[in-house]
């Protein structure tokens, strides 16, 4: 079952939400919403893998058309993935219904255009 839109969730270290949006915008995302959070990674796992996890996180929600999801996820992996200072993870959730998307293009003829995830 495929849906018209998907919700990309990207969890990054605090201060990297702008980098997330810059990477996502490059591939057609329009806007997002940032929520502040606190990570709870296992101390034992941190020692095992030899990495340190900054507990303060930003969670970015981006609503995008289904066909842009893969490109944006790849862009996020490259820009703010685990091997970057942003130490981000990103995943997408299926969205089965949406209301409130803005219609921006001046030549839009009443039809919902692609690429309007202005969350």
């Amino acid at each position: 079952m495929t849906f018209s839109h998907e919700c990309i969730v990207c969890i990054v270290n605090t201060g990297f939400s702008d980098a997330v949006m810059d990477a996502a915008r490059e591939f057609g995302a329009r806007g997002g919403t940032v929520i502040h959070g606190r990570g709870t990674a296992s101390r034992e796992a941190e020692r095992f893998f030899g990495i340190s996890i900054q507990p303060d996180k930003e969670l970015v929600l981006i609503l995008v058309p289904h066909d842009l999801t893969d490109k944006i996820l790849h862009a996020l992996y490259r820009a703010v993935g685990l091997k970057t200072p942003g130490q981000g993870i990103a995943f997408s959730l299926p969205v089965d219904q949406v209301v409130g998307l803005s219609v921006f293009s001046p030549d839009a003829s009443g039809e919902a255009p692609a690429g309007n995830g202005d969350a």
């Binding site: 839109h5 919700c7 939400s17 702008d18 949006m21 329009r30 806007g31 997002g32 919403t33 940032v34 929520i35 502040h36 970015v60 929600l61 609503l63 959730l93 299926p94 969205v95 089965d96 219904q97 949406v98 209301v99 409130g100 998307l101 803005s102 921006f104 202005d118 969350a119």
Partner: protein
């Protein structure tokens, strides 16, 4: 001898009465659940939370968020403030169309109430009581009528 004694004892026991079958107990599949995300101006969070709560929604979480739309986009939309509220609500699948219809209407009609809402299907929830709480299932409600709180306010 002992065997006979045992048999007698067993026969002395009162037969377990099977639980009386409920009349009109309609067999219905469990209602599916969804997570509804509603992003609105933070000042309107309580209003939208109350509106959604009117549809028999028992669990809502309001998170403080920030919009990321750029200034020119905001100016075009008439949104000058980036403070947003993300309302996460657990809604029943069968109530979703009515809730979306209401939200669409309110996004248009409420001054400064422009927002966006989307839903994500939930695939599992553990615990009967939790499910009943989330789906607002009340014992004894008439399945044909559904929950009266679910009607549009």
């Amino acid at each position: 001898m002992e065997q006979n004694e045992t048999k007698r004892r067993r026969s002395d026991r009162p037969e377990k009465k099977s639980a009386p079958k409920k009349k009109n107990a309609a067999l219905t599949a469990p209602k599916k659940l969804k997570l509804l995300f509603t992003v609105v101006d933070r000042k309107k969070a309580e209003l939208f939370s109350d509106l959604i709560g009117g549809y028999g929604v028992n669990l809502q979480i309001v998170l403080a968020g920030e919009g990321t739309a750029k200034t020119e986009t905001l100016r075009l939309l008439g949104l000058d403030d980036t403070a947003r509220a993300v309302i996460v609500s657990v809604i029943r699948d069968d109530k979703a169309p009515a809730i979306f219809e209401m939200l669409e209407e309110k996004f248009e009609s409420v001054r400064g109430g422009k927002g966006i809402a989307w839903s994500v299907p939930m695939t599992s929830a553990v615990g009967v009581a939790i499910y009943q709480f989330l789906s607002d299932y009340r014992e004894g409600q008439d399945p044909a009528r559904g929950n009266e709180r679910g009607s549009r306010p």
